[in-house]
């Protein structure tokens, strides 16, 4: 009797071990505290809504906190890979953090699903796949709109950090093709209490339109200051700025602000045949049910799309190797490079060997603040 029980326990343990072995582990590092907290909280929230399986296999998400600090993000990545033996890594909510993780992923040969737009030397992209739309793609929509409205000169004001640099680069990138000139490169910090100096300089340059390279509520300060000083031109923002808090902080002054964003911000208004309509609507609905009405944002969608891309790649990788092995990680990387027509909340992903983002114009819409809400600009 005792022996049978023992055998049963042993059998169960073996089975359990076997089952655990097939489990896929995804390591995540995010900063829901520190200076990037306003974005990191949303990125992290989304993991409560994630599917419990990837490619049909059970999945475990190991989520670590990096306090929006690049060094911590790098350490977390190393810890996840060496101690938790994750099959892929995801994160983080700041460009400097993501650069650190990309380096670790490259060294340890781990597939990395990056959740911020970054730019890397080509060879470093081997293990890195970027979920968010490239800033050039997003600001391309702004450039188009400026051209259609006869904008010839553009004033730029952005954060004095990596995000501000990315936005400035993206804005100047399109200048020649769309026939405008960027006349100022002013910078401010999120915590600044005043941008009067920068705004005066922009006003002195008399640009037809202004592009603000801030994010979240941080984008409101220059916009409000421009309006208070009587600036009459259009003011454009970027996809980092689109959330409800921006409007709450900016109030009446930000009425008419235009920004590019992923379709999941305005899923209700998308035409019925829009490719991402169903996924965008479903994710936004679930997110707001879980975290409160009006809490929709782009960042949770990036986490979600990252998992959808992994979900699409896992079956092909499972055919080649078992999770938890270096072979599986290599197979997963190859599979990620081959995912086609993955419909996410932000857009449709078609990866290739040379394009590790794979999004196109379907991943961007322009929105405008009308009567205190972001509405699709038609």
């Amino acid at each position: 009797m005792n022996r049978t029980l023992l055998a049963a326990v042993a059998a169960a343990a073996t089975l359990g071990a076997a089952a655990a072995h097939a489990e896929i582990t995804i390591g995540v590092t995010l900063g829901a505290t520190g200076p990037g907290a306003s974005l990191g909280i949303h990125y992290k929230n989304a993991f409560q809504l994630m599917p419990k399986t990837l490619g049909g296999e059970p999945v475990k998400y190991v989520i670590l906190e990096d306090g929006s600090d690049a060094t911590n993000a790098g350490k977390n990545a190393r810890k996840l890979i060496t101690e938790d033996r994750v099959d892929a890594i995801m994160g983080s909510n700041g460009v400097p953090s993501s650069l650190q993780i990309a380096q670790v992923a490259f060294e340890t040969k781990t597939p990395y699903v990056c959740l911020t737009p970054i730019s890397l030397p080509p060879e470093k992209y081997h293990w890195t796949f970027v979920v968010p739309q490239p800033t050039e793609l997003m600001m391309g929509a702004v450039a188009e709109h400026m051209k259609a409205n006869g904008v010839k000169t553009v004033g730029f004001i952005g954060f004095s950090d990596g995000w501000g640099d990315l936005m400035y680069k993206a804005t100047t990138h399109h200048a020649a093709a769309y026939g405008y000139k960027v006349v100022t490169d002013e910078r401010y910090a999120r915590a600044d209490t005043s941008v009067t100096g920068q705004i005066l300089k922009i006003l002195a340059a008399k640009p037809d339109a202004v592009v603000v390279g801030g994010s979240g509520t941080g984008g409101a300060l220059p916009h409000v200051a421009l309006v208070e000083r009587g600036y009459k031109g259009r003011i454009y923002h970027n996809h980092g700025t689109v959330n409800a808090e921006f409007i709450k902080v900016g109030g009446k002054a930000v009425e008419g602000a235009i920004a590019p964003t992923g379709p999941l911000i305005v899923p209700e208004e998308l035409p019925a045949n829009y490719p991402t309509k169903k996924v965008s609507l479903d994710f936004t609905k679930r997110y707001e049910e879980a975290f409160g009405a009006g809490r929709r944002n782009a960042f949770g969608g990036y986490s979600y799309d990252g998992v959808l891309i992994l979900d699409a790649a896992v079956p092909a990788a499972l055919k080649k190797a078992k999770p938890g092995t270096p072979e599986f990680r290599a197979a997963l990387r190859d599979a990620l490079e081959g995912v086609k027509n993955v419909v996410g909340s932000h857009g449709v992903y078609n990866m290739t060997a040379t394009n590790h983002n794979g999004q196109d114009e379907r991943a961007r819409v322009l929105v405008r603040v009308e009567n205190g809400v972001w509405r699709l600009l038609k």
């Binding site: 974005l39 909280i41 004095s160 002013e186 209490t193 009067t196 002195a204 509520t217 409101a220 208070e228």
Partner: protein, 347 residues
């Protein structure tokens, strides 16, 4: 650069400088009385501004929980001391000060928030929530170490700063907030379009500075504070309760911080962690004043505001570097000029 731009930048610099001046005074007051380099000064700004913005949007600010918990902690420490010293007669006073008072404030906030009362009532409630945090903070974190070295007290300050900033993120969230302006008015002054809010800032700063002067020159508590600042041991010997003076200086610092926060929250977006940078600029102002003189500190803070404003026009990307680099030549000059006095250890 036209005269008009200079006038605009000067106006902006003076508005910010007025806030920095208030903070510089508070930092200086706390430092001279308790030898604490008061890093958490900025937290009062954030707590007051964000609490006000939350109350305006009809939510109960988490500040009341911090107040209740901090009060309970201070009460426990005081009670332990009273029991140890067999002075149980103190208990009712301890309870009234650290438990009943915070609970009453919390109750008032709970009651007031859904009723959406007038702005001045909400401002009073915010002051009632934030200002007691000062003395409670002193009681809990600093008083047990009151005679430690400046360095130890500074490290305690850093710890308190991180604790409060973390709590701030928990209770106010990561996104920035703004509160309604006291008045939407704007009026013309030459080429300038002066907003009524920035006049509020400057006027309130002047009134507070005058009030502080009155306190120090004309009242017994102010004189006791000055005595403690000049010589802590001497003050104790002539019967000045130095712990009470510590609490009083923290009370004033918290009040000044809260008022600053309330004043600037309509003109800028404040985040859970903004207070630190604002406080740091006040600190630079205090250092420009040599950390000893109130008028010099105020002038120094005003200079920081003006420099910041002009730097943001000329080289916005390097603004912070320019402002904080200013400390280096000033410190070099101060250290060359002052005869070296070893820090006195009061044991």
């Amino acid at each position: 650069m036209t005269a008009e731009i200079v006038a605009w930048l000067a106006q902006d610099g003076i508005t910010n400088g007025a806030i920095y001046a208030l903070l510089a005074l508070a930092l200086l007051l706390v430092f001279t009385v308790t030898r604490v380099i008061f890093v958490p000064q900025g937290e009062f700004i954030a707590y007051a501004a964000l609490s006000l913005a939350l109350m305006e949007s009809g939510r109960v600010p988490g500040t009341i929980y911090i107040l209740l918990a901090g009060g309970a902690l201070a009460a426990a420490m005081e009670t332990a001391r009273a029991v140890r010293e067999r002075a149980l007669a103190r208990l009712p006073r301890i309870l009234a000060l650290y438990v009943v008072l915070p609970a009453a404030v919390a109750g008032a906030v709970w009651w007031a928030v859904p009723r959406n009362l007038a702005q001045w009532v909400q401002i009073l409630l915010v002051l009632a929530m934030v200002v007691p945090l000062g003395p409670i903070m002193y009681r809990v974190a600093y008083q047990p170490l009151a005679s430690a070295s400046v360095l130890v007290l500074f490290i305690v300050s850093m710890a308190v700063h991180y604790v409060l900033m973390g709590l701030s993120l928990v209770f106010f969230g990561g996104e920035g907030l703004r509160s309604r302006p006291f008045s939407e008015g704007q009026f013309q002054l030459g080429v300038l379009n002066v907003s009524a809010q920035s006049l509020w800032v400057v006027a309130a700063s002047l009134v507070l500075i005058a009030a502080l002067w009155f306190l120090f020159e004309r009242t017994i508590y102010g004189k006791a504070l000055r005595a403690t600042a000049v010589n802590r041991v001497g003050a104790r010997l002539v019967g000045i309760p130095t712990n009470l003076m510590g609490q009083l200086s923290f009370l004033l610092a918290a009040f000044i911080g809260a008022v600053s926060g309330i004043l600037i929250s309509p003109i800028t977006t404040l985040y859970y962690d903004t207070g630190f940078i604002i406080g740091l600029k006040g600190f630079v102002g205090a250092i420009l004043g040599g950390m000893v003189s109130y008028p010099l500190a105020a002038v120094g803070a005003l200079a920081v505001g003006l420099l910041e404003s002009f730097a943001s026009f000329w080289a916005s990307a390097y603004k912070e570097s320019i402002v904080f680099t200013l400390i280096i030549p000033v410190l070099v000059w101060l250290s060359l000029r002052s005869h070296h006095v070893e820090e006195e250890e009061e044991k």
